[in-house]
């Protein structure tokens, strides 16, 4: 137990700095290092923040599903809190995708929004996240609600392949991935790293506050029971 706490303390003191450095490096690469894309010009640089956001949104969803499964399996409170924090973060990053997407689409395609399969998929994902977070908000914070949310998280992840399949078929072929220049690939990699750091840092912060709240509640109950 001792090693675990020191380990997590180390991570806690290390992670903010790592995040800052990674983010600065990512920004420098996006604005100074990587060359302009030939067809789209400067606007294409949005891509280096857009795509990692989308990956983080997916990562959040899988953490929610995994933690939900673990919670239903073993009933550990920490798994429930992890699912909860990851869902919030997934929603934050999903919102980023949905906000930066139109800002990129507008100068390139001339429209704010197209019903492109990926955009549609992200929107549906955002809606599922929203339902999950709102369920938590509306239903309070009890053992029962934790189970409800876990079921919803798992049902959501079961649904994702079906949603993806149906949306793909619904709007034909989606734009294919072009060959990337090495500079672009490196920039994307660093940006993804920076986003992973931001994700992990915010997740830890949120988790800590959730755990703290649990402890405070337990203490309060203990005090009330003692008096």
């Amino acid at each position: 137990m001792k090693t675990v706490t020191t380990h997590s303390d180390l991570v806690d003191s290390f992670l903010p700095w790592l995040t800052c450095v990674a983010m600065l490096a990512a920004l420098a690469m996006v604005f100074l290092y990587v060359p302009n894309e030939r067809v789209q010009g400067e606007v294409q640089r949005i891509f280096y923040f857009h795509l990692p956001s989308a990956w983080m949104a997916f990562l959040g969803f899988f953490i929610v599903a995994g933690a939900s499964g673990a919670f239903l399996w073993q009933g550990k409170r920490s798994a429930d809190l992890l699912a909860r924090a990851a869902a919030e973060l997934g929603m934050v990053f999903c919102s980023l995708v949905l906000l930066t997407g139109p800002l990129w689409a507008r100068p390139i395609w001339g429209v704010w929004w197209t019903w492109d399969p990926r955009l549609t998929m992200t929107l549906v994902l955002w809606l599922i996240y929203a339902a999950y977070v709102l369920l938590r908000v509306f239903a309070g914070d009890t053992e029962t609600v934790a189970r409800y949310a876990a079921v919803l998280g798992i049902v959501g992840v079961i649904d994702i392949p079906l949603i993806y399949l149906s949306i793909r078929l619904w709007r034909g072929i989606h734009p294919k991935v072009e060959q990337m220049a090495p500079e672009m690939a490196w920039t994307l990699l660093v940006c993804t790293g920076a986003f992973v750091c931001v994700f992990a840092w915010l997740l830890r912060l949120r988790l800590r506050s959730l755990h703290l709240r649990d402890e405070i509640r337990a203490l309060r109950q203990h005090l009330v029971a003692a008096s």
């Binding site: 606007v43 915010l202 912060l205 506050s209």
Partner: protein, 49 residues
């Protein structure tokens, strides 16, 4: 490019807002901790007197 600028500021604003919401909740929690501490102190006082 205004769009590029807008996109990057949006990313920062959203992340900042979320961090702000976490810190707000954290402040609420520390206030609660303070209240709890006072409760325990009062109790120890009454017990010792």
């Amino acid at each position: 490019m205004p769009y590029l600028f807008a996109a990057f500021s949006v990313v920062w604003i959203v992340i900042f807002l979320y961090a702000l919401s976490i810190s707000r909740r954290q402040r609420e929690l520390s206030r609660e901790v303070e209240a709890l501490r006072q409760m325990t102190e009062e109790r120890t006082k009454t017990e010792s007197s």
